[in-house]
Amino acid sequence: MTTTTSPGTRAGTSGLPGAGLDVAVFITCINDVLFPQTGIAMTKLLERLGCRVHFPKEQTCCAQLTTNTGYFKESMGMVESYVKAYSDYDYVVAPSGSCIAAVRDQHPMLAEHAGDKGLMRDVEHTSKISLDISEFLVDVLGVTDVGAYFPHLVTIHPSCHGMRLLKLGDRPFKLLENVKGMTTVDLPAAEQCCGFGGTFSVKNPDMSSTMTADKARHIRETGAEYVVGWDNSCLLSIGGVLSRQNAGVKAIHMVEILANTEED
């Protein structure tokens, strides 16, 4: 069972783009523990747009950690938890292109690899309904201006999995373009990976940190106050290097900017 946004917060939602929509959020393990503010921002943003937000407590992790290390058997409990959490919904929204890509591409592969017919049927539904927040906002709600306000100079790191595996295209850029008060400056070599790569950063620490250092250098060259991304795992790595350097640039998730309004 799940809990939902209390009815009080949905007073007067009619006319809002998300009115009448039930949305289950997938916070992801890394955000649950390390970046709760991202999950909170996404919840508040969806509510502001009129959605009824649900948090199925059975959720844990997209299973990338084990899958991408090659441990498929160890991933199955996470896939099953995901199915248990979201089978009854029409929309699952997460603040992570990477985790959604895992749900969409890897869950069906894992179920097939395990030869589990029932699970294959189940994940067919859950992988189809799972969306990255920018897909949900642009494609389902049809909004690119969410009424956000962020009076800062930012540069954008287009995280690889969102861009290449989910093919988010210009969705996040459009959403950020409409943020009031914000100025964006181009990031050199923006499309290059930040070097995090999950267990890559542990198995290949020297290469990983070299790549992140290059990313941090490019970010510093822009003179921005914030580097914006849509995957906190990349931002954890980039932000960690910037912090070590006392660079004066902070990593921030896109939904935290989108959730911010002039009233905040």
Binding site: T4, D32, T60, E74, R164, S208, S233, G240
Partner: protein, 510 residues
């Protein structure tokens, strides 16, 4: 001499040889796993700059060619389908190719593995009574370490491609499949030519500068003697056409054309996956390959040899079809997709790991995305170096975007990691890292496999105190080791999880 010419030793380490001795006898035996090998490479500042400049230039040229080709995606799709058909009916096309080649007067040989391939090539050359052969750049012959085999047989194999010549004279190893000397710059090339050419033929002019036309001219004069002398040439092939029995070689310098026209005997070592059904298929591949490989609309030299023409070109031609692990690759439904590869190196040129590591750290003549997916399949995963290969990747998928034959690298890499993990599961490993990883993955499976375990773990670790030593960063679901924190800060661990916030602010669980 610049410090990074470290691989160069004048002469042959005192060993009597015909050709420059490559480091470690040309093989990768005893090389450390990628993470360790990369440590040294990352410190080579000249190589880092050379690689950055070269890969950026080729990447941009390729991107330009692709954007100006309106039906690029259709051509890619066509290539994908042709190559898949070849894979499905490989036996049929190979037999057809053998028939057509034989009808054209070409001798066809079959080699199960590298050893057999080398032996066949060596025997043909020996039967001709030659002491040297000229070579067209061929990574397939690097895969079998053919030059070293011929050296042992008393036959000198001379590389004639400029980049390959730089590598050979530099006692070096190729670091790229299209531009084997990509890690060298002009100043280094000049030093190599000055030092080494004189030991193996016509010396380099003493007053040479690092101006590319001068360097190219020195190479041209040095090689000309070898071209004019040679009785036997060895090549690979870009494609073999099954219907017409033709051998197709594309190149930029004309050295290939020299090798294909001057010597009497031509021996071509060809991987069995290089066969294409028909001459008509070239239309697709000659559009994809030059644009992807060098950012050119067309290669300067495109040679199609359909057998022996009396009194014109090589009068004796041999094609050696080699398996060397390829049928094992074909047997793997996920892994087999790499057999579509046309060796353009687009994937290598966009790889951010390769750009920084260079080609030598991989422990294979195939580096980068194609290397880490092909090599462990060709060689198997018994060796730690081969097991480590699929992990030399962040899964950023830049390669997936550019590959002209649409190889899904990230899927294959994850699949190969699974093969490695399953192999390691069955074994007791003395490698502490492997053992630690196994334990960690098991723990992750338990913690994250059920939300009750996840919640318990979060509370337990929090209750145990969030700061246990300065490296403790909370119940982080990624295996963050201390060395991760050597380079990065993890600033704050929030006091409240999202779950807690939800319970406190959005109602009790039912």
């Amino acid at each position: 001499m610049t410090t990074e010419l470290r691989r160069i030793t004048e002469g042959n380490y005192g060993v009597a040889r015909l050709t420059p001795a490559p480091e470690h006898g040309g093989t990768f035996l005893g090389q450390p796993k990628f993470p360790k090998a990369v440590k040294n490479e990352l410190k080579l500042v000249v190589q880092r700059k050379n690689m950055r400049n070269a890969t950026t230039t080729i990447r941009n040229k390729r991107a330009l060619r692709v954007t100006e080709t309106p039906n690029w995606e259709d051509i890619r799709q066509a290539a994908y389908e042709v190559k898949n058909r070849v894979g499905r009916h490989l036996d049929y096309y190979l037999e057809q190719a053998e028939k057509s080649l034989t009808a054209n007067g070409v001798h066809v040989h079959w080699a199960r593995d590298a050893e057999e391939a080398n032996r066949i090539v060596g025997e043909i050359a020996k039967a001709k009574g030659v002491q040297e052969v000229v070579k067209i750049k061929s990574i397939t012959t690097q895969e079998t370490d053919l030059n070293e085999h011929l050296e042992e047989q008393g036959i000198a194999a001379w590389e004639t491609d400029l980049a390959e010549l730089i590598v050979q004279l530099g006692h070096d190893r190729p670091s790229h499949i299209v531009v084997p000397g990509i890690h060298r710059n002009r100043a280094e090339v000049r030093e190599i030519f000055l030092r080494e050419m004189k030991n193996y033929g016509r010396p380099c002019p003493e007053d040479i500068t690092s101006n590319p036309p001068e360097l190219a001219n020195a190479a041209r004069l040095h090689l000309r003697e070898k071209f004019l002398r040679a009785k036997v040439a060895v090549s690979g092939a870009n494609f073999i056409l099954a219907d017409t029995g033709s051998l197709v070689i594309v190149e930029s310098e004309g050295n290939g054309r020299m090798c294909l026209t001057l010597p009497d005997t031509l021996i071509s070592l060809v991987g069995i996956e290089k066969v294409l059904p028909s001459y008509d298929d070239l239309e697709i591949f000659l559009k994809l390959l030059p644009r992807s490989a060098t950012g050119e609309r067309m290669n300067p030299y495109n040679s199609v040899w359909s057998g022996v023409t009396p009194n014109d070109g090589p009068q004796e031609q041999h094609v050696v079809f080699m398996d060397n692990g390829r049928t094992n690759v074909l047997a793997d439904p996920v892994g087999r997709e790499v057999l579509r590869c046309i060796r353009c190196a687009s994937c290598i040129n966009v790889c951010p790991v390769y750009e920084r590591a260079g080609g030598h750290a991989y422990g294979s003549v195939y580096p980068g995305p194609i290397g880490i997916t092909l090599t462990p399949q060709l060689r198997g995963i018994d060796d730690p170096v081969d097991r480590g290969m699929p992990y030399a990747c962040t899964l950023c998928a830049a390669c997936v975007e550019v590959c002209p034959v649409k190889i899904p690298f990230t899927d294959i890499i994850v699949h190969l990691r699974n093969r490695v993990a399953d192999a390691e599961r069955k074994e007791f490993s003395t490698d502490v890292e492997v053992a630690a990883e196994k334990a960690l993955m098991k723990a992750a499976a338990w913690v994250l496999g059920d939300y009750k375990h996840w919640e318990t773990t979060m509370y337990a670790t929090r209750a145990a105190g969030r700061v246990v030593g300065k490296h403790k960063i909370g119940p982080l679901p990624v295996p963050v080791a201390n060395r991760w924190l050597d380079y990065r800060n993890v600033d704050h661990i929030p006091s409240q999880t999202f779950r807690d916030w939800w319970k406190a602010n959005r109602g009790e669980e039912k």
